[in-house]
């Protein structure tokens, strides 16, 4: 039966059909829905791990124990999990282990662009690169088989377009049966990577790559489609789709496995067409390997005027491809002639930008408002609260990767930077990689002030459970980690938990701490405004005729506060008005208004009562 599945849903489906029974991962766009979908299948265990490294270790343990296991993450997650990746590449597994890396070309929601096919080659494990949802499902199943056949973890490399594109998928209702009850291995030569054993394993995994490369010659998902022989294209992943669209007549060598490569197949294909090119997104990964084999690739007659032509011959090395980009590059390289019939029409008006913003009623807003007044350097981290960088709050000065805020602030402090450094970090990010950094602050005694923005959920990636929420991915009740106790146990003596909407207490506390020496942690606690339980409390506020358009409330950057058409008679400034559809009633604006022109919740309730009565 065919059903429409996203690439992520298809991976989950494939894993389930392959009899995978353990999944551990950490959320991250574009990978998140794989776990969320898998968690709903029967006979499946799925968990959110605290970070990707832990997630991969867990999947490894399951695979050692004889269960097929999968670990999912976004591309940068594999940086965190790299340590685990490299040892499991050495040890191999007992049952199939699939590592899903979801890359994000064009960085739709990421801090950097990286091509994780490189990690497969780096760690010597095979890499499958699907081109649509059907392949995402098929390749997942194939990956489990490969993993067991060659005693190796297998990377399933997805990209945003594959993860989040839906297309029809043929599925079966059967689940493969994986043999029960295997004994946990007592095989130190293979599983205990002390130097003596590791030294013996390294040649084994190099030999495995050679075997896989020979296997790849007949791997059914590497295939040649012969059409016109004048142009041959070697491609893999989503780029195959653009190849078909832009060069409908060309012959194609479609690589389902992009590492290691089928050397003979590539030779045969290249020898049977007039010219060969490689079409791939991001790094010249296939291209470099094909050149190493000694294949001569098509060279444009005149050098291409591209900034990065020295690294990749025809197509861009940065950003996501699409058929227009591929067509343009092919035209420039003299491969096709695009008749540009008419100049594209330009809009020629500048449109107001619509940047992502903190939601109305977001509990992060108050801290940023206070920090923007204090003008201290703020080292940020990754999550919704990164949006504190946007005007008018404009409060974040650095932000690199998850967990970086505290370490970077500490570095600036021990370097003797004149200003007092603040780190801001979300609850999920704190559990992910913030804790070791905070222990480092306590241990090495810098006077960093850390604000843990505890919105009771992993927000940015679409509201996942985490160790602070009291529930697991599969909705089991569990312990609710006490952040304040944890911070104390890290060796920080000055800790305070406040309600995130209490602007004055946050301001008073931070000002006081600025005067004192030593590390301190402020935990601002309040549910994310989008959680169902928070939605129940929505109560839109109102602006009274006391407003004189002083603009203070506009500076908190709440999308629910609008400038009305009405002007203040004295100053001719637009008055404030609150959008009744958007406002949640968090009262941050009411607290900052110097003229008490915004009614608090109880005042709104009283007013409504009096109007009714």
């Amino acid at each position: 039966m065919k059903r429409i599945l996203s690439g992520n849903e298809a991976v989950a489906r494939g894993a389930w059909e392959a009899g995978c029974s353990v999944a551990s991962g950490y959320p991250g766009t574009p990978s998140t829905e794989i776990m969320e979908t898998f968690a709903r299948y029967p006979n499946a265990y799925a968990e959110w791990a605290t970070n990707e490294k832990v997630g991969l270790d867990v999947a490894i343990g399951a695979a050692y124990a004889g269960k097929r296991a999968i670990s999912t993450m976004k591309h940068v997650g594999l940086n965190v999990a790299a340590d685990a990746l490299f040892y499991v590449a050495m040890t191999g597994v007992e049952a199939g282990l699939v590592i899903v890396s979801a890359d994000d070309p064009s960085m739709h929601s990421s801090q950097n662009e990286q091509d994780n096919r490189q990690f497969a080659k780096f760690s010597r494990i095979p890499c499958l690169d699907p081109a649509d949802s059907q392949e995402a499902r098929d390749f997942t199943i194939a990956a489990f088989d490969l993993s067991e056949q060659f005693d190796t973890p297998v990377m399933l490399r997805m990209t945003t377009r594959i993860c989040h594109t839906s297309s029809p998928v043929e599925v079966t209702e059967q689940q493969q049966q994986i043999p029960e009850k295997r004994k946990y291995p007592r095989n130190p030569a293979k599983y205990v990577m002390i130097p003596a054993n590791a030294r013996r394993r390294h040649p084994v995994i190099e030999e495995r790559v050679s075997e896989l490369s020979r296997f790849a010659e007949n791997f059914p998902y590497n295939r040649i489609e012969y059409r016109s022989k004048s142009l041959g294209i070697i491609t893999g992943g989503v780029a195959y789709q653009y190849a078909r669209e832009v060069f409908p007549d060309a012959s194609i060598l479609k690589l389902g496995m992009v590492y290691p490569l089928p050397v003979e197949m590539i030779g045969t294909f290249s020898g049977s067409v007039d010219k060969v090119i490689v079409l791939e997104e991001l790094d010249p990964f296939i291209e470099d390997q094909v050149r190493l084999i000694g294949i001569e690739l098509y060279k444009p007659a005149k050098p291409i005027n591209s900034d990065f032509a020295h690294t990749k011959s025809i197509f861009p090395i940065t950003g996501e491809l699409n058929s227009a980009i591929v067509r343009h590059a092919a035209h420039r390289a003299g491969l096709i002639n695009v008749d540009i019939k008419q100049e594209p029409i330009n809009l020629n008006v500048s449109l107001p930008a619509r940047p992502p913003t903190l939601c109305p009623g977001c509990p992060h807003r108050s801290s940023f408002y206070v920090l923007s007044k204090l003008k201290v350097p703020v080292n940020g981290d990754i999550g919704c609260y990164t949006l504190g960088v946007a005007p008018p709050l404009s409060t974040i000065d650095t932000c690199g990767c998850m967990g970086a805020s505290i370490g970077v602030a500490h570095g600036a402090a021990v370097a003797g930077d004149q200003e007092r450094h603040v780190a801001v970090i979300g609850d999920s990010t704190f559990f992910h990689t913030g804790i070791p950094a905070l222990i480092n602050v306590a241990y090495n005694r810098s006077n960093v002030i850390t604000i843990i923005m505890d919105n009771r959920v992993t927000g940015m990636t679409g509201h996942q459970q985490n160790p602070g929420t009291g529930f697991t991915l599969q909705n089991q009740a569990t312990v609710e980690l006490d952040i304040e106790k944890l911070v104390l146990a890290c060796g920080i003596e000055k800790v305070l938990t406040v309600e995130a909407f209490q602007v004055d207490i946050i301001e008073k506390t931070l000002k006081q701490w600025m005067k004192e020496d030593g590390p301190a942690v402020l935990i601002t606690r309040e549910e994310c405004a989008l959680l169902p339980s928070a939605r129940k409390r929505y109560l839109p506020l109102q602006v009274t005729d006391q407003c004189n358009g002083c603009t203070v409330c506009f500076r908190i950057g709440c999308p629910a506060i609008l400038k009305s058409k009405e002007l203040d008679p004295k100053y001719q400034r637009p008055l404030a008005v609150i959008d009744q559809e958007l406002c949640t009633g968090c009262e941050i604006c009411a607290q900052v208004c110097p003229r008490d022109a915004i009614l608090f919740r109880n005042q709104v309730i009283a007013l409504r009562k009096s109007e009714v009565g």
Partner: protein, 208 residues
């Protein structure tokens, strides 16, 4: 519904571009269009970008129907039909339309913070219309939000728009409703049916 006529009007299949602001229900609408395409016997791809766009940013999805669909992305000048849930986003996406392609615009504004912060100005309807006319004479407006509020279900403007689109495409409304029914909880169906009918009728009046 008459798939032959659709094929005549759109020989290479149909590229839909849906654009709006997070929270407007574009996702449901694009799911419905993808299912509908499959029910009509087309190959289908539906692509959307999640992530940062959820926080009040622009949300775009592409739905492609065709005999065989390769690329998931629609590029400049390739959109046959744009369904714009918000006026400013209609304008932002207009360069994607193919010459004289069709655009259906929800006459509704969601003011971005850059406007309330005084950094830029929201264009008025005449401006929008004028700019869009440079690209196509095939623009239709519908008061999707007003209609949804009139029937007492302000969240259903997405379904109002689907109703209007169905009228413009001359697809059988029953077939579309059948797909909608599979995509929403049953207890909301009657509301959605009302919203759909209201959108459908509003467009029939115009295209007469």
């Amino acid at each position: 519904m008459d798939i032959k006529q659709l094929n005549n009007n759109y020989p290479g299949g149909i590229n839909f571009l849906l654009t709006g602001v997070g929270g407007q229900g574009t996702i449901l609408a694009s799911n419905v269009l993808a299912d509908l395409g499959m029910a009509l016997g087309f190959d289908v791809k539906k692509a959307e970008i999640h992530g940062m766009s959820q926080r009040g940013g622009n949300v775009i999805s592409y739905i492609r129907w065709g005999e065989h669909v390769y690329s998931p992305i629609i590029t400049s000048g390739e959109a046959d039909i744009i369904l714009a849930f918000e006026k400013l986003e209609a304008l932002r996406s207009i360069e994607q339309i193919r010459p004289d392609g069709m655009i259906l615009i929800n006459d509704y504004a969601i003011v971005p913070v850059t406007v309330s912060a005084g950094l830029s100005e929201y264009p008025d309807n005449e401006n929008i219309q004028e700019s869009i006319e440079k690209f196509t004479s095939n623009a239709y407006w519908v008061k999707g939000q007003d209609i949804a509020e009139e029937i007492g279900y302000p969240k259903a403007s997405n379904v109002v728009l689907l109703g209007a689109l169905t009228a413009l495409l001359a697809i059988g409304p029953k077939d579309v409703l059948r797909v909608i029914a599979t995509r929403i909880p049953q207890k909301y169906y009657s509301y959605n049916e009302k919203a759909f009918d209201a959108g459908y009728k509003s467009m029939l009046k115009k295209s007469d």
